[in-house]
């Protein structure tokens, strides 16, 4: 079992190095970022504990993959497997638990521990025959696949909008828009197999435009209920709302393009830094988007001449 965790540690180091992060630096920066972002979240919303639980839930559920667990079961005895999975889940939930205690919300550690234990015995059986319906079936794949993986986020976002309206909290309404956009952005985090790009009889230029068009159309469908609700109940904030929406669209375009700027490699530090700068100073997106577009176009020309 010790060997397994050592191997995990090595794999993590390799991933960090491949991402362009020296592991040592990452081990210093990651906790700092975690604490910083958590602090920000807790200062901005009273629902931070629930969002924390949701994040932990998403992280722990990632460990329940069928293939992964079947492999572990075939390598270890039943007892060792349970010990290993428990340890794994507790390591993952530890930062969340510690912060919750620090934020005087220790009561939320209990459901966290329960999730960590329950998930040891749950395997995400991807071979089940039930297909989750998606409204985005006409233009696969990012939104159709992504929606199936994250559909539960949307009712949460709509509930947050409802709370925002009933509590008269416009910022919470904006947060629900952020949530929808963040979820949609995650659909573009993974690189697709080259075959799915190669198959297109489009130039790299048109391919990128097509991707952006589809994403903007589909995200509008998802965000429209929130937008209409907020427009009706916060009539004095319309300018803020639509400016905010425009910026959110710009970020989505940036993320889509960032994925292809170094294709077939994963997004790297320079792109990450540019996106981070744009978070601090959104007008820079006016320059970043054309730059990413040009870089992506160049990268895709090999597959889409």
């Amino acid at each position: 079992m010790k060997g397994y965790f050592l191997l995990q540690f090595k794999m993590l180091n390799r991933s960090l190095t491949a991402f362009g992060f020296p592991p040592l630096l990452a081990y210093i920066l990651l906790p700092v970022c975690f604490v910083g972002l958590s602090g920000y979240l807790f200062s901005k919303t009273e629902f931070a504990e629930y969002i924390f639980l949701l994040l932990a839930f998403a992280l722990l559920s990632k460990q329940t993959g069928r293939k992964r667990n079947e492999f572990l079961k075939s390598c270890f005895t039943r007892t060792d497997y349970i010990k290993l999975r428990l340890l794994e889940n507790f390591v993952l939930m530890l930062p969340f638990a510690m912060y919750l205690i620090f934020a005087k919300a220790a009561i939320f550690v209990i459901p966290l521990v329960v999730i960590a234990i329950v998930f040891v015995f749950i395997t995400n059986n991807t071979t089940i025959q039930f297909t989750i319906p998606t409204p985005f079936y006409k233009k696969p794949f990012e939104f159709s696949v992504g929606f199936r993986n994250t559909f539960f986020f949307f009712p949460i976002a709509y509930i947050l909008t409802y709370i925002a309206v009933s509590e008269g909290n416009f910022n919470l309404g904006l947060f629900s828009i952020i949530l929808v956009f963040l979820v949609a952005m995650s659909y573009y985090s993974k690189l697709e197999n080259e075959y799915y790009i190669w198959s297109y009889s489009l130039s790299s230029n048109l391919f990128l435009i097509e991707k952006i068009k589809t994403a903007l159309g589909y995200i509008t469908v998802l965000v429209l209920p929130i937008l209409i609700t907020l427009s009706i109940y916060f009539t004095t904030e319309l300018t803020t709302l639509f400016t905010f929406l425009l910026i959110a669209y710009a970020y989505l375009i940036t993320v889509i393009l960032a994925k292809y700027t170094v294709y077939p490699n994963e997004m790297n530090i320079p792109q990450g830094i540019l996106i981070a700068i744009s978070l601090l100073f959104p007008p820079i997106l006016i320059g970043i988007i054309p730059y990413f577009f040009f870089q992506s176009k160049k990268r895709l020309t090999k597959l889409l001449p």
Partner: protein, 226 residues
């Protein structure tokens, strides 16, 4: 028509293809055979434009890849994409507006299920259906019979014959000689990245015997099976 001239490909120190010269005509079916690592898939990837190479690949089309259906040895599927969506995705990629997916489901695949849950043979059949629906002029079929059931095997052979009759160019790599003999007009033997032999239909039987002799040799005796 696809014309390949002096096609070479190197991966680091490994010379995967050495100055390959061959022409694939319209309305003909070509088999590419060779042992594992001989360069079959690399040749296909070069033709498809998925690899950089030295030499030339020319065709009747300005951009061959837009008229090429490539069935890969192991087609890749996203984890939560249904069979229907996969067909639609590849149809959209080639701007095919109207797809009668249910009617075209000749392999009776469970299209409403996630493609990633399909068996190896079903995945192959889905990927094959997709490239057929694209209406391509040229086809590269890398191991199309792998893991496929006997009924589908028969159907695929008939599909290849139909493609030939329609004037399409078809390249097949397969380790199952009988299916190649059934469908191909010519078979090219690839060895360590070089095309060492081209055999026409009349000599297929001879080629099979030769390969059998070379491959088997005295290896069975060496096993000392008792």
């Amino acid at each position: 028509m696809i014309k390949i001239e002096k096609l070479s490909k190197q991966y680091g120190q490994i010379q995967a293809l050495k100055s390959v010269n061959v022409t694939f005509e319209k309305g003909k079916v070509y088999g590419i055979i060779g042992e594992n690592g001989a360069g079959k898939t690399t040749l296909f990837r070069c033709i498809a434009g998925l690899e950089k190479y030295d030499g030339q690949v020319t065709s009747d089309f300005k951009n061959l890849k837009n008229h090429l259906g490539f069935l890969m040895t192991e087609p890749f599927f996203f984890s939560k994409i249904t069979g229907t969506e996969y067909l639609r995705l590849l149809g959209n990629a080639r701007n095919i507006k109207t797809l009668n997916i249910q009617e075209n489901n000749v392999f009776d695949l469970p299209l409403s299920q996630y493609a990633s849950t399909y068996s190896t043979g079903m995945k192959k059949k889905l990927a094959l259906t997709a490239i057929l629906l694209q209406g391509n002029a040229c086809f590269i079929l890398d191991e199309p019979f792998n893991g496929v059931d006997i009924e589908s095997n028969i159907l695929i052979v008939e599909i290849i014959r139909t493609l030939k009759a329609l004037g399409k160019t078809v390249l097949i790599a397969s380790h199952i000689f009988s299916t190649l003999a059934e469908t191909c007009d010519e078979i090219h033997l690839l060895e360590k990245g070089e095309l060492i032999k081209t055999v026409v239909k009349e000599d297929f039987e001879k080629l099979e015997h030769e390969m059998r002799d070379v491959t088997i040799g005295n290896r069975i005796e060496k096993l000392n099976i008792t």
